[in-house]
């Protein structure tokens, strides 16, 4: 059975782009429109990889990433962050949350700033799901 990749992004155009790349490379896509829905699907569908936007309604990618990486059962789940938010800001946000009493979290496995070319995303996926 093919490996499952969850795309968490509130922009339907970006989801469509990512889903197309995922399918063309032989993986099974799953979709969520915000962090809250993303976590529900992670727990239910157990994807092998998450492609995560940062700025979304309800729960941002900053929080969802932190939830994944501080959960004993999920922390090994690789995450590709695909966002317009700069990597530096993302890392600073995680540092700030750690300073406010949160657990330290590692950097995302891959960080891609939007927009990306299809082959860039495909290479990033393959780097995590050989």
């Amino acid at each position: 059975m093919g490996k499952k990749i969850l795309v968490v992004d509130d922009d339907p155009d970006v989801r469509l782009f990512s889903v197309t790349v995922i399918e063309e490379n032989g993986y099974i896509p799953l979709e969520a429109a915000d962090g809250e829905q993303g976590m529900q699907i992670i727990k239910k569908e157990h994807p092998d990889l998450v492609i995560l936007d940062v700025l979304m309604p309800k729960e941002s990618g900053v929080r969802l990433f932190r939830e994944i990486k501080t959960d004993a059962k999920l922390k090994k789940l690789p995450v590709i962050v695909l966002s317009g938010i700069a990597k530096r800001s993302f890392l600073r946000s995680q540092k700030a949350l750690t300073e406010f009493g949160g657990a330290p979290v590692p950097e995302p496995e891959v960080y891609l700033e939007k927009p990306v070319e299809p082959n860039e995303l495909a290479d990033a996926i393959r780097s995590q799901l050989p």
Binding site: L55, E59, S89
Partner: protein
């Protein structure tokens, strides 16, 4: 209720990042989540003769808003705050309520630019309609290019008009939980000149004494919650006197409770909270009844 999540409704010209930064003082009152809302009016992208639906225009407007929000969000994320965003096409009021419901927001912040100055901003009626229908407290911000210090510290000195009604008591309750943010509350009551009965100064002063006693009780209650509070009595037209009091107290914000009058009753009797929200130069915090249509 704490202010944990704030809905920041902006068209960028009316409400900018400087206004949002001035509200970050609310972090002392538990604020940790800001949700940006930008509503693209349907007529800007809707059907035009010979053009149809302007999808490319919608994309342009969405991405323009997105670029601004990404910039703002980076600053907030780096401070450890949670940030969300809605960029939607539709009716302003409907979309604001929908976003507030989805996010369970504790406070809605909107701009109210004067139409006579810049006609492409929110119309006053949008803000009034929002205030009429909301069950979430609303902070109406005004552009104040000549009063930057007010925008810097909107919660510094709050003017609280009080008339003993359930609505004004609700505003007292709301402010009482913001002791970590507010420096001083000036509680005022505007007495009606018709109530000044009697032929002697003693008789007239008895009215002031009675009103003052009630206000002192409110101040004692606010003081018990850690707020510095002072009572003031004014006589005259409420709209005029509230503005006068705001000037004399050097207020940085006016806070009022609003009632659930029907639209018809309101049209006949008027609504002081909504008139202040629309006409005052100061940021105006409106605390509505909890349940409203």
């Amino acid at each position: 209720m704490e202010i944990r999540k704030l809905l920041f409704v902006t068209k960028f010209d009316d409400l900018g990042f400087d206004a949002l930064q001035s509200l970050l003082v609310l972090r002392k009152a538990a604020l940790n989540h800001v949700v940006f809302v930008n509503v693209i009016e349907r007529e800007k992208v809707g059907m035009h003769r010979g053009l149809g639906y302007q999808k490319s225009e919608e994309i342009k407007l969405r991405e323009t808003a997105n670029i601004r929000f990404i910039d703002w969000a980076e600053t907030l994320f780096e401070q450890g705050m949670e940030v969300g965003v809605y960029i939607v096409v539709g009716n302003l009021i409907t979309q604001v309520f929908e976003s507030a419901r989805k996010e369970a927001a504790d406070l809605i912040v909107v701009g109210n630019a004067r139409k006579r100055l810049i006609d492409h901003l929110y119309s006053g009626s949008d803000v009034i309609e929002l205030l009429r229908r909301t069950s979430v407290p609303v902070l109406v911000y005004k552009p104040l290019p000549d009063k930057i210090e007010v925008l810097d510290r909107p919660f510094e000195r709050v003017l609280l008009p009080f008339d003993g009604s359930p609505a004004s008591r609700r505003a007292v309750d709301y402010l009482s939980r913001l002791g970590a943010v507010i420096n001083q509350v000036d509680v005022i009551q505007v007495a009606n000149p018709k109530d000044l009965k009697g032929d002697t100064s003693m008789a007239v002063q008895s009215l002031r004494k009675k009103v003052r006693q009630e206000l002192d009780d409110i101040c004692d209650r606010l003081s018990a919650d850690g707020l510095k509070a002072r009572a003031h009595v004014y006589i005259g037209d409420p709209m005029v006197e509230i503005e006068k009091a705001a000037r004399e107290c050097q207020s940085t914000m006016i806070a009022l409770g609003s009632s659930s009058k029907t639209e018809w009753v309101e049209r006949w009797l008027g609504s002081i909270p909504r008139a202040i929200a629309e006409n005052s130069d100061l940021p105006t915090l409106i605390v509505p009844p909890p349940q409203r249509l």
